[in-house]
Symmetry: C2
Subunit: 387 residues, 2 copies
């Protein structure tokens, strides 16, 4: 893997980035605070900012999706999208080879999580999840006054399935089990044999929410399987959630959905708001499903970005969790807050607090060029003793 | 008001419509079913379809809003819109001269209603509303197993405030009172003195949801006032909801919000999904707030459309409810289902069942040209004995 020299000119960087004016302009929106200019590395001065803190897709969306979204706004941005929702539902169901009635649409998959939380609150459920994991469901459950049990992950950030199972079995009534798989912020997967074995032997009162936001990045791993297989086998106690925010690069379009058996989907759907998809979102998602080339490119770029970062982490001997996602959780050599501040001063948005241990950072995999730049920055940080 | 001759040519109609190719193309999306071609009026054959069933804004949105939405998707459709939500929140708060913390954003105002329903369910509330009214809240409340009391409107479709008040006073605990003002599907308003008197003398346990989706069309009426005045006076038991779907022509963008005191807003916010606004929606709404000319045009066109329709209804001696909205509830001379079928056969989407009395139709006020066409169709229906 080609690595960049230590101090290329700004012009060289822009060439290497290959991002063009539009992306550079985005930096002006970032409201960067350069609190301590002395901390800025020479090659990062006035450089484009890197947004690596929300697991977004720096590639953007498929050009076809973009065109479709613009067209949809122009043509029927003033109309309620009910007809196109119905069409899209059939198309997406077809894509997954399920019935349209099995789909639960959400304004982002977060709304699907919100709906499941509200459904569970009606049953006075207990929610069990690993810690750390994606925090939205916990927030929703707490607002619903649900009992939330968090089970810490193990030494290698692996989910402690045995402990979660035990805690679940100790509850009465509905137990909502939140499994983000691959998990966020750790990036690792659960071996499907372990997970399927758990679910297949769990009582029907244990409802498994499998948050598969990062499914697309993990499917190449032979030890990974989507919970859709279980739903297809008729399991009523499994709901999976998916999103167009990650591999499809549409975080700003707010398009998510859940899949369950018809019986279970019908129970959860009333708890999502009606009319929850936008004209632009539906059009973009529909075009994205058709653009297999972009999908492939999106996965491949992510793979390339991962290898660039992994090479750097290996070179710097910074431990990391093997990832099947578009981000990596890795060890840093300084407290996270200091690291985040130094990164912020150098225009890199990264370093949100994600784990109890203060020496781990989650970085999103931007484009390959962005990851070269991030790697460069990490190496310069090492020189400064910041990592 | 100029009225059209009985059977102008299709060419004349298209000229009169002045809609251009884009809008005509929309007809191909409408999946019209011409079940009985003999019922089609000569001048409606192959004419553009009229969508007058969802109280949308046929004008579309402000051209500036459209440009802003397209730009937003292109520039950061792949990013979570958290930064722009924060900016927009400040701008919208400024627009209403309230604090940003008083705003409750929703994916359309329906999500605000959904959040209030969930909040109320936690308190085991009773919901009271007039019948007929906009049905979303009732649906949400029923999914939450809330007790729903509907109080029929009077002879002239006026809300029976005295009866609603009496029912509310008979409840214990939280009472959610749903007042769509102006009301949908009736189009009429409540005199603000009556409403303010009720609210000012109600116990704090009576939470008034004032759905003001049609606020912009009603504010010229001296007997109308927004509940915002009460919130500004510090009333914690009032929430108003507003939308960009109507006067701003953005039904497909899914942008709505509620306003309450900070105390009340903080109670309701946790029940909306996070990240619930899209990049395109935020950009369009922000531009729309700045485009005072389009806003004025939107109101004026609606006024003109209303006068065209009212003239026709008067001419045909079809009773109607005086409207402060972008629709009119009017008497028809045949059962609604027959009327809707005849309209559907003639490419006019109208005639959804809205009231218990089968002889009333709610028609949305399209553009003035659309209303000429609709008036023309109504008159032809009269000739046929269909209305």
């Amino acid at each position: 893997m080609k690595t960049l020299g230590m101090q290329p000119s700004r012009r060289q960087f822009i060439q290497q980035l290959g991002l063009g004016v539009a992306w550079l302009g985005l930096a002006t929106n970032a409201s960067l605070v350069f609190a301590n200019r002395t901390a800025i590395l020479p090659f990062r001065q006035n450089a484009a900012s890197l947004w690596l803190h929300y697991n977004e897709n720096s590639l953007g969306m498929s050009p076809n999706a973009l065109s479709a979204a613009k067209y949809a706004i122009e043509r029927y941005g003033n109309r309620y999208p009910s007809a196109s929702v119905d069409e899209f539902k059939v198309k997406l169901a077809d894509h997954h080879q399920v019935k349209p009635e099995q789909l639960i649409f959400g304004n982002g998959s977060t709304e699907v999580l919100r709906a499941i939380a509200t459904y569970s609150a009606q049953q006075n459920a207990t929610m069990i999840e690993p810690s750390p994991t994606f925090g939205a469901l916990k927030g929703y459950c707490k607002s619903e006054n649900l009992n939330v049990i968090q089970v810490p992950v193990g030494q290698n950030f692996e989910m402690n399935i045995a402990a979660m199972k035990k805690r679940a079995m100790a509850q009465t009534g509905l137990v909502l089990i939140n499994i983000c798989n691959p998990n966020n912020p750790t990036g690792n997967i659960i071996d499907f044999t372990t997970m399927f074995d758990w679910i297949n032997n769990a009582p029907e009162t244990h409802l498994f929410l499998l948050d598969e936001a990062y499914f697309d990045y993990a499917q190449a791993n032979a030890r990974y399987k989507s919970g859709l297989d279980l739903i297809n086998q008729g399991k009523d106690n499994v709901v999976i959630s998916r999103t167009f925010s990650k591999v499809h690069g549409m975080a700003g379009m707010r398009m998510g959905y859940g899949i369950a058996t018809v019986k279970t989907a019908n129970k959860i759907k009333p708890f999502a708001a009606g009319f929850n998809l936008s004209a632009a979102g539906i059009a973009a998602a529909s075009a994205a499903l058709d653009d297999k080339l972009f999908y492939k490119k999106s996965i491949e770029y992510n793979q390339l970005s991962k290898s660039i970062l992994v090479d750097t982490l290996n070179e710097l001997e910074l431990e990391y969790v093997p990832s099947d996602t578009n981000f990596i959780l890795h060890r840093i050599g300084s407290p996270l807050a200091d690291y985040a501040e130094h990164m912020q001063q150098n225009g890199v948005r990264v370093g949100r607090k994600m784990t109890l241990d203060d020496r781990w950072n989650r970085v999103s995999l931007g484009t390959p060029d962005e990851m070269k730049m991030f790697s460069q920055t990490l190496k310069a940080f090492r020189q400064k003793g910041w990592v």
